[in-house]
């Protein structure tokens, strides 16, 4: 019975873990006060480069993973250089535009991406490997949040002007945040490719962008654990809804998302709320 359940939902658990990568990629910049959808573009870049590397050299996807991460980080660094001078609203718009362009680029670069036909990637990625990678990633974010970088980006997010008058270089810190976001997003793109064993222009598109940001905000954008929780909840939600309300699962998904945001606007995991309770 339990084994059946596991067999049925095993892949959902795998996708949830990959989604944690995407959510943490989005969280990395959001935690520095920047709303950006560009994680999708890093994922596409990392995914296609990693896939090509595996297909052409036959190396294990695990060895391609660092290459994907570096590719994503480089793209993110370029995005940071170009877009960080924009104010918050424009940054969000520009990054969304970048996502739209990513699909067009993928479609028109068939030698790298397979164009409309996509790429199939016959590799195996065990759930155990994925779990280890995820734990490593969580360790990185845990260390980051307690480090001076973590303290400074929190300050920059809450009040950039005050942070600057305490000597914190906001632009530089946000550039670091972008590079982290790019590395995590690029790696996530490779892992998604390995999970799906097939990627196409539609794999990395606007729906992932919205899914990522919704997962982070749903889980709580003030702590990295929120992104992790949000990715799991957001992956589980459609699965549960399909089992419970198959007729109207999309409507139920939307309604659940709406209800959580209205009643828990700071997300499921909110360190400030804990502290407020602690203070009483």
């Amino acid at each position: 019975m339990l084994a059946d359940l596991w067999a049925a939902y095993q892949s959902s658990v795998g996708f949830a873990m990959v989604n944690v990568f995407f959510a943490l990629s989005t969280y990395a910049v959001l935690s520095a006060g920047v709303l950006s959808f560009a994680s999708v573009s890093y994922a596409a870049f990392g995914g296609f480069i990693g896939a090509q590397l595996v297909l052409n050299t036959g190396i294990s996807p695990l060895l391609a993973l660092p290459v994907s991460a570096v590719a994503g980080a480089l793209l993110a660094y370029a995005v940071a250089l170009l877009f960080l001078r924009l104010d918050g609203h424009w940054m969000a718009l520009a990054s969304l535009a970048l996502v739209l362009m990513t699909r067009v680029v993928v479609l028109n670069a068939p030698t790298l991406t397979g164009g409309v036909n996509g790429l199939s990637l016959p590799v195996d990625l065990s759930l155990a490997t994925l779990t280890v990678l995820l734990l490593l990633l969580m360790l990185v974010f845990h260390r980051l949040s307690g480090s001076w970088y973590g303290i400074a980006v929190r300050a920059v997010r809450e009040d950039p002007a005050v942070a600057a008058s305490l000597g914190m270089p906001a632009r530089r810190l946000q550039t670091i945040a972008f590079v982290i976001s790019g590395a995590v997003g690029g790696a996530g793109g490779m892992l998604l490719a390995a999970m799906l064993q097939f990627i196409s222009p539609d794999t990395y598109f606007i729906n992932i962008a919205f899914t990522m940001i919704a997962a982070v905000v749903l889980g709580g954008s003030y702590h990295w654990a929120g992104a992790v929780a949000g990715a799991f909840v957001f992956t589980a939600l459609p699965v549960v809804m399909q089992a419970v309300l198959p007729q109207i699962q999309d409507v139920a998904n939307g309604a659940a998302l709406l209800a959580i945001m209205v009643f828990l606007p700071r997300g499921l995991i909110d360190p400030r709320a804990w502290r407020l309770r602690h203070a009483r």
């Binding site: 535009a97 362009m101 002007a161 606007i206 940001i213 919704a214 905000v217 749903l218 998302l257 709406l258």
Partner: protein, 300 residues
């Protein structure tokens, strides 16, 4: 040469749809600070409402358009009051401008309204009956001018001019800009932000609705994909045109429409989207705040 002019008119008509979408989207973004992912669904639902008015009530063309426009506006108002109103005044880090929560609730409505639109049309693409809209072909010399295209362009010009006049040259527009700049300060200045919010939401939904009805007729497609298509291109128009001036969004929308038609005619159909987004990238790099964009300054 004739073909060129003909395609120019085609491009203007197509671009007018993008422009209408962009004007409403930009209005909400500038005034209410909301990146509204559900904005495209208003167009789908307006087209569905207009089609229903034609099929079930036998409404003539102007009334069908009006029904769609009002439906789009009311839907936008409903979404605003359910999805955005509860989040107002809760604050958040200044730089995100309270944008996050509203973005997520708008995504929630996007998912729901798209899915419900799928149910409403039976998961297929519906058509307006051929006799329900002006289908006559006018002629200017040798140039054929489909009257529906002229109606579309005229509707866009009227809507843009009207909204521009409202925002820039009326007291209410001053109030809208004040709310966009700083809601709390606007309230102190005797502006009722609540009224501004309601009117802005309705206007935005109505323009999106207008684009939906006209687009539903001219593309022969009434379904949830109507709004999605408008959203992807209309959004590009917002970025190119800038969101703080409706004229910029309108001009950019028309320009994108012309570009799209021309590149399909003279270059290649497959490059069509590529050219649009290459232009988008160029604007992001060279003129990142849009055609009429002003430099933003750091708020001390």
């Amino acid at each position: 040469m004739l073909l060129f002019v003909e395609q120019l008119v085609n491009g203007c008509a197509l671009g007018s749809l993008y422009a209408l979408f962009a004007v409403g989207f930009g209005l909400v973004f500038a005034t209410l600070g909301i990146l509204n992912a559900a904005h495209g669904t208003y167009a789908s639902w307006a087209a569905i409402a207009a089609l229903a008015a034609v099929q079930h009530l036998g409404a003539p063309f102007p009334l069908a358009v009006a029904a769609g426009v009002v439906a789009g506006g009311l839907l936008a108002l409903l979404v605003d009051q359910i999805a955005f109103q509860p989040l107002r005044g809760r604050g958040g880090p200044a730089k995100e401008g309270g944008m996050l929560g509203a973005l997520i609730t708008s995504i929630a409505f996007w998912i729901m309204l798209d899915s419900l639109a799928g149910f409403a049309t039976g998961q297929q693409s519906l058509n307006f009956p051929a006799d329900s809209y002006p289908a006559r072909m006018l002629h200017l010399g040798a140039l054929p001018l489909p009257s529906m295209q002229l109606v579309t362009i005229a509707a866009m010009l009227l809507a843009t001019a009207g909204i521009h006049a409202l925002v820039r040259h009326s007291r209410f527009g001053a109030a809208m800009r004040a709310v966009g700049w700083n809601g709390a300060a606007a309230a102190l200045g005797g502006v009722n932000p609540r009224v501004v919010i309601v009117v802005t939401a309705f206007l935005a939904g109505a323009t999106s609705g207008l684009a939906g009805v006209l687009g539903g007729i001219s593309t022969q497609n009434v379904s949830f994909t109507l709004g999605e298509g408008l959203m992807l291109k209309g959004f590009a128009a917002v970025v190119v045109g800038g969101y703080d001036d409706v004229r910029g969004a309108a001009i950019a929308g028309v320009a994108l429409g012309i570009l799209e038609v021309m590149s399909a005619q003279y270059l290649s159909t497959s490059l069509r989207d590529g050219i649009t987004y290459a232009l988008l990238l160029g604007f992001l790099l060279l003129r990142p705040r849009g055609l009429f964009g002003r430099a933003a300054f750091l708020r001390a």
